[in-house]
Symmetry: C2
Subunit: 292 residues, 2 copies
């Protein structure tokens, strides 16, 4: 098959490595080129046959390719897209895998070449593990991928981006960049900040007495500091509003506790539980995984 | 073997049912008697051979037994222990499985008979699933069980309680009741409150865009409302202090975000990450389970 022609993957961590493995396993690309500043990960990927060639020079690496997937940290994506748009052929499709969208899409669209080739994307898949060693060809299977086209996005590029992410196994949905960032502040960025806040709060000397609730509640605090600082900073407004909503809930809880008010505590808990139950009902698989 | 003689289990939910199954699998008791207000669960447990007999009357059910394990919700434990102490033989050992200890131990020790037979215990094992249908004979295997003796606890009862919980597979540690509650406020009660606060904050309409961080961060919000209201209310002081510590961390995060301060965000995240890393290093098994 190899319908995608030559694909370049920019940034070769967990996500970039997983894109490479998925392309190989599904025989989707004629050639796959890895591009990163870190030559070591690229050389290893080439050695195991995950990529056909690699480059540490972005401008040279994307010459003549058909599709570029930018998988760098969010703080670097817009810059990379603009460089790619300048050095690739005019027929190229450029998409990304960033966890924020508004700042990236706005920055790319300030560039004439950039906005003519780019479709913002966010495959909602990941891990608290860092690096291509944890890459997984099935990372995207069954996951939602949000595409964030704007009025400036060419229709043909949008269609090609949809086909690409679906080929990797994603369920593609469309949302405007601001809507994406507002939702993800609540569903991902706030949960990450909260996991870190909990991990920061519980001192090591009592960890012998921690169990499942601590374990699960702090899991994603193992993620990379620079990566998450970048995501938080690119989504400050929505994340600050999400944080305020959380603080309102914590205040409700605090007041019910101070008042020793059983009815209020149960009412508060039950409303939360009902939300979580809706999540389980929509994703029956997730619920089953948890019966441990 | 059957070294434990006749054992009565008071309260027949997930924990009580798991104690029954563990006793049977390990052939630790000559007879096991289930005691609960809910006859249905008891009849089912008897039918599958998990218990030898049952009673819905606490005073009658504990007549002549050697060991009583009180597995009711924390708000009912002290009352049950005092009733048991009045109606069982003077040689009985009474222990419990409550997630709080100070209020329970203080209430029991106000009773002369109660304090002569009781050893407070908290096996740190559980589930967000409720009821004996989720009982597991290996629930306690390798888990920490905190015993909370005081100066009033008879040495022979403490020794028997230690042997009992070790027989179920627990790693037994001792802590005073106040120390237990202060630690558990941080390692368990706060993480539960936070999971519910997160579940309450994220509205159902964006749950299609939720993934791992939300899933893990809200898992224990599926737990029972009445059960957790009871635990929170019995540990108000330590839990309010733990909540204040969390709010301090959230304020640090908020200010770093408002200031768009990459260094402060990374420093905050890294300190949290270091705590979580210590947890993984102590419990290598937990870390492996997570590589998903």
């Amino acid at each position: 098959l190899a319908q995608l022609g030559t694909v370049a993957i920019v940034g070769f961590g967990l996500i970039g490595g997983s894109v490479a493995l998925a392309l190989r396993e599904r025989s989707l690309a004629g050639r796959v080129i890895g591009i990163s500043r870190s030559e070591r990960a690229l050389a290893e990927a080439a050695r195991i046959g995950a990529i056909h060639a690699y480059s540490t020079n972005l401008a040279l690496g994307v010459a003549g390719v058909d599709l570029v997937v930018v998988c760098t940290p969010v703080t670097d994506i817009a810059r990379s897209v603009v460089v790619v748009a300048r050095h690739a052929t005019s027929g190229v499709l450029v998409t990304d895998a960033g966890s924020t969208k508004r700042a990236i899409v706005e920055a790319v669209e300030r560039d004439d070449r950039g906005r003519s080739v780019f479709v913002g994307a966010h495959p909602i898949a990941g891990s608290d593990r860092k690096g291509p060693a944890y890459a997984d060809p099935d990372l995207f299977e069954g996951r939602v991928c949000v595409l964030t086209p704007t009025e400036q996005t060419p229709a043909d590029r949008l269609e090609r981006a949809r086909v690409f992410w679906e080929m990797l196994g994603c369920r593609v949905v469309e949302l405007d960049p601001v809507g994406h960032d507002e939702a993800l502040a609540l569903t991902s960025h706030l949960p990450h900040a909260l996991a870190a806040a909990l991990a920061a709060t519980v001192p090591p000397e009592v960890l012998d007495l921690a169990a499942g609730a601590y374990h699960d509640g702090t899991r994603v605090a193992r993620s990379d500091a620079a990566l998450w600082s970048g995501i938080f900073r690119q989504n400050r407004g929505p994340l600050l509003r999400a944080l305020t909503r959380l603080e309102v809930e914590l205040h409700t809880f605090r007041h019910a506790l101070v008042d020793d008010d059983d009815a209020a505590l149960q009412e508060w808990w039950t409303a939360a539980r009902d939300n979580r139950t809706q999540f389980d009902e929509r994703f029956a698989k997730s619920a089953e995984e948890d019966e441990d």
